[in-house]
């Protein structure tokens, strides 16, 4: 039933040879000898990896499998929630990919046969691969918090995948009366974008301070510590005094259940009823990773830190939020950096070589206000089967610096987003 990729490619090449008589090299022979790499997921990881593979070795047959015509970026989506940015500024397409030589297949991947090295698509067709890259991002775990399922998310948005959920949270904030309580429930580690809930708290507080100054924001946390903690806490005091309160795990912050009918979040220490409730639930690797057999009992994918090849399924590589990358946080910058290292490793493996030991960098900016940026950076290398921090490098922005330093980091945050989206989608 399935249309084999090799068949359809041959049909395409044949048609091309018939109509373009000036071709001087034998296309079908070329196509047969080229190794095939299929990349599932067109976000910062997958789209970067597909392009990098083609740049490193233009002979490779690279296919990007992504059902959505439009990618909606999560970085800077907290600005959309706070009314500082439009959702359109978060949207990117794949129309430039044909010029890169990457074939985009606008289908969802639904099956992986690791033994046969094929994947199945939603339309019943299949693709063969020599190497498969999974960059599926996250799935929200709708089984982790009692009462929090997809229907509940329509009332208590997670807004942890950018798009309709982002706009829903924004609309709820806009509809709220001054003096209302906004609650953010933050999950335990690991999860996508570790500083994200706290940047969100800042930017929602920025909106409230501007439009609804008698309102309060409460963060209920399943952790006792979090990314850029001192910088965020200082920013809350400095920029939004009396408005933001953080309740840690040991203070009873862990949300165990929710009641969407009453917008109530339930902890061991009591109930909190919110006007606007943003519930960021626990997460796991995107579903196709589990279908492929690449997830372990944590719900994430263990990988080789040199090649990003799955520790459980050969010839399948996992990058971005879905993989367990040791000290590297789940960020867009990380996904892009891993994508380029993974692409180089795959090209080397396909040519019979042995990939060199890499080093990787992550840099994550957060905005505490539109002109107040803070960052965390790290340099990583393989160690004991994981990616470990290079000692002495990395860390967060300094605590005691003048505001123009924060303004420069806010400017660099914008510049980073402009660059990475142009590099990946432009």
């Amino acid at each position: 039933m399935g249309v084999n990729h090799r068949m359809s490619r041959r049909a395409f090449c044949g048609a091309g040879a018939a109509t373009v008589t000036a071709l001087t090299f034998p296309l079908p022979a070329f196509a047969q000898s080229a190794a095939r790499v299929v990349v599932i997921g067109g976000g910062f990881g997958g789209a970067s990896c597909a392009r990098a593979l083609k740049q490193i070795d233009p002979k490779l047959q690279v296919t990007l499998v992504e059902p959505n015509k439009t990618f909606i970026a999560c970085p800077f989506s907290n600005n959309v929630i706070a009314g500082l940015r439009s959702i359109e500024q978060q949207q990117f397409g794949y129309d430039k990919f044909s010029a890169t030589g990457v074939t985009v297949v606008a289908q969802a991947a639904t099956a992986v046969n690791a033994a046969a090295r094929t994947i199945g698509l939603a339309d019943g067709t299949s693709l063969s691969y020599d190497r498969l890259v999974l960059s599926p991002g996250i799935d929200l775990r709708f089984d982790a918090l009692q009462g929090y399922d997809e229907a509940a998310a329509a009332k208590m948005p997670h807004a942890w995948k950018a798009g309709e959920q982002t706009l829903l949270l924004r609309k709820q904030l806009e509809a709220m009366d001054d003096g209302g309580l906004v609650v953010i429930a933050a999950p335990a580690n690991p999860f996508r974008c570790p500083p994200g809930p706290y940047e969100r708290a800042c930017l929602i507080a920025h909106y409230l301070k501007t439009k609804k100054p008698r309102s309060k924001l409460l963060i209920l946390d399943a952790k006792d510590t979090f990314s850029k903690q001192r910088l965020f806490q200082n920013a809350w005091k400095e920029l939004y005094p009396g408005m933001v309160e953080w309740i840690s795990l040991s203070q009873g912050g862990k949300v165990n259940a929710v009641d969407p009918a009453t917008n109530t979040l339930i902890t061991d220490f009591g109930n909190h009823t919110a006007k606007v409730a943003n519930v960021i639930p626990p997460q796991r690797a995107g579903r196709i990773a589990t279908i492929a057999g690449a997830t372990d009992n944590t719900g994430w994918c263990a990988i080789d830190p040199v090649t990003f090849e799955s520790k459980s399924v050969p010839n399948i590589h996992v990058i971005g939020d879905a993989c367990l990358a040791g000290a590297m946080p789940k960020s867009a910058f990380t996904a892009n950096a891993q994508a380029k290292v993974c692409a180089a490793a795959i090209a080397t493996l396909l040519s019979g070589g042995s990939p060199a030991t890499p080093k990787l960098i992550n840099t994550c900016y957060s905005l505490a206000a539109p002109d107040y940026g803070i960052s965390v950076a790290g340099v990583y290398q393989p160690k004991n089967g994981l990616l470990a921090d290079v000692e002495g490098a990395g860390g967060v922005s300094p605590v005691d610096v003048p505001r123009d330093f924060r303004a420069r980091e806010a400017d660099y945050a914008q510049a980073w987003f402009a660059t990475i989206t142009a590099e990946v989608f432009g």
Binding site: A356, K359, Q381, G392, A393, D411, I420, E423
Partner: protein
């Protein structure tokens, strides 16, 4: 910042002399740079483009970031993760890119 602009000033474009080097795989760490520093020439950004810059100037800047003699917001934290040899290899590779 003025010092940095001078150090990372427009370098002579590396022309056709190094095609093999330009196509060679990036040394450890180098592939991450284009997360912030655009590889493509079309991006307008306050973060400088590094491809085609003079290798010596990149190495000098990174050494300055690492020892604190050049002011930085984040490059000081990143430069500390690389040895002299690694920085030289990264700079040479960046310089060879178009």
């Amino acid at each position: 910042m003025k010092t940095l602009s001078v150090i990372l000033g427009i370098a002579t474009i590396v022309a056709s002399g190094l095609p093999v080097l330009a196509a060679s795989p990036p040394p450890p760490g180098a592939a991450s740079c284009s997360g912030c520093h655009a590889a493509g020439a079309t991006v307008t950004s306050s973060i400088s483009r590094l491809y085609g810059r003079d290798a010596g100037e990149i190495t000098t800047a990174m050494a300055g970031f690492r020892d604190g003699s050049l002011p930085a917001t984040v490059m000081n934290r990143i430069a500390k993760g690389f040895s002299d040899d690694e920085l030289r290899a990264i700079a040479t590779w960046l310089a060879a890119q178009k």
